[in-house]
Symmetry: C2
Subunit: 197 residues, 2 copies
DNA sequence: GAAGCCAGAACGAGCGTTCGGTCAAGAATG
DNA sequence: CATTCTTGACCGAACGCTCGTTCTGGCTTC
């Protein structure tokens, strides 16, 4: 490798270059409209290099999916451990979702927006993943503690997080402009009003 | 045509056979995992016959998209004209969405769930379509009349319809079982509480 | 010189689409 | 009535192209 002799750790960050490029193209054009040759071109790599790090196209998507979900799960656990009331926990979750959308829209789009079922048929669907299970768990606990009205936990979770998630979708589709975190006060007010006891 | 002499109107309903088969396969396996040859096989037709009625695969999807959106728009207009208060109108819309999901889950999945952007890049996105515009219009009117709190209309619409839509997604993903209409009272209660003045 | 990394030509399968054609049923013609 | 012509529904082999993947070989580093 002759060009750019200054790069220090070119070792195994070819992998992350591939992942970042793939994430961008997948969210921009969709999984099926993105070929491995497209990733190669955009990442200034060769086919061989890509297949050296990943067994195939779907392995790239799978790696992205797992990495992003794991990151989110960690954040959720952090939230759960640093807040005690259901109200504070759920508000922190909504805040996190909004700010993550502002900061890493592509990652968020890949997690929430993409139809993983279609290209990762053997993966557990997003809504059954750990982060989503944690969200449902928070809500159930809130019902038991009396903070939230007596409702089917799934319905309560859908209602409370459905609004923020819908706004995120609208934002990712380019319909709702501007930073989302700015909407946190009003949207959280609405969300909490909808289920609070 | 010798087989099944009993069929009266075999004339132009080959078209609807194609559309119904395509809708089923598109929602079941996704647009990109469905080939025209698959449609041919499942519909017991020939390639030539399909291409006689549609210019191409994307035209089939486009026809489905337009037909379904138009049907929904008509229902929405009917609702708007038969209810006067924002509360009643929006409740009727939510009720319609839930019952439509129960009755025609595939149609609903194709409208709400599918990423049309990826295979119909020249179509207006769902969220900018007439039905969704009508929903936003109802909410805006509700704010002007004082039935709904003073909020960004888009935020209010996202919050009010986000919960029900989220539940629909969960249902279509097989996570929330049972008929959705049964949840209308509780979910509408939550939705209205979240934005009502 | 062994091991990891990268390059890129080549392949084979599957796709959307084309196209030349058959067949049945009317309409037009005699 | 018998005939030719016309039309539209339908068929399916075949084509061209793109894609995911493989493979062979060279380069770099220790």
């Amino acid at each position: 490798m002759s060009y750019s002799s200054g790069t220090p750790d070119k070792k195994a960050d070819t992998r992350t270059v591939i992942l970042n490029t793939a994430l961008r193209l997948f969210t921009q054009n969709g999984y099926f409209n993105t070929s491995v040759h497209d990733i190669k071109r955009e990442a200034h790599l060769s086919i061989g290099s890509i297949y050296h790090y990943f067994k195939g196209k779907d392995e790239i998507a799978k790696a992205l999916y797992h990495d992003l979900l794991e990151e989110m799960e960690q954040q959720f656990n952090l939230i759960a451990s640093s807040h005690s009331s259901t109200h504070d926990r759920c508000k922190a979750v909504v805040s996190l979702l909004l700010s993550m959308t502002d900061e890493k829209p592509e990652a968020m789009a890949f997690m929430l927006h993409a139809k993983h079922r279609e290209f990762l048929p053997n993966e557990t669907p997003v809504c059954s993943s750990k982060p989503f299970t944690l969200m449902k768990g928070m809500v159930r606990e809130g019902i038991e503690k009396g903070e939230i009205r007596e409702l089917d936990p799934l319905v309560a979770a859908a209602v409370m997080f459905g609004g923020p998630i819908r706004l995120i979708h609208l934002h990712l589709d380019g319909i709702f402009a501007g930073p989302l975190v700015r909407q946190l006060p009003s949207i959280w007010d609405c969300a909490w009003k909808s289920v609070s006891a």
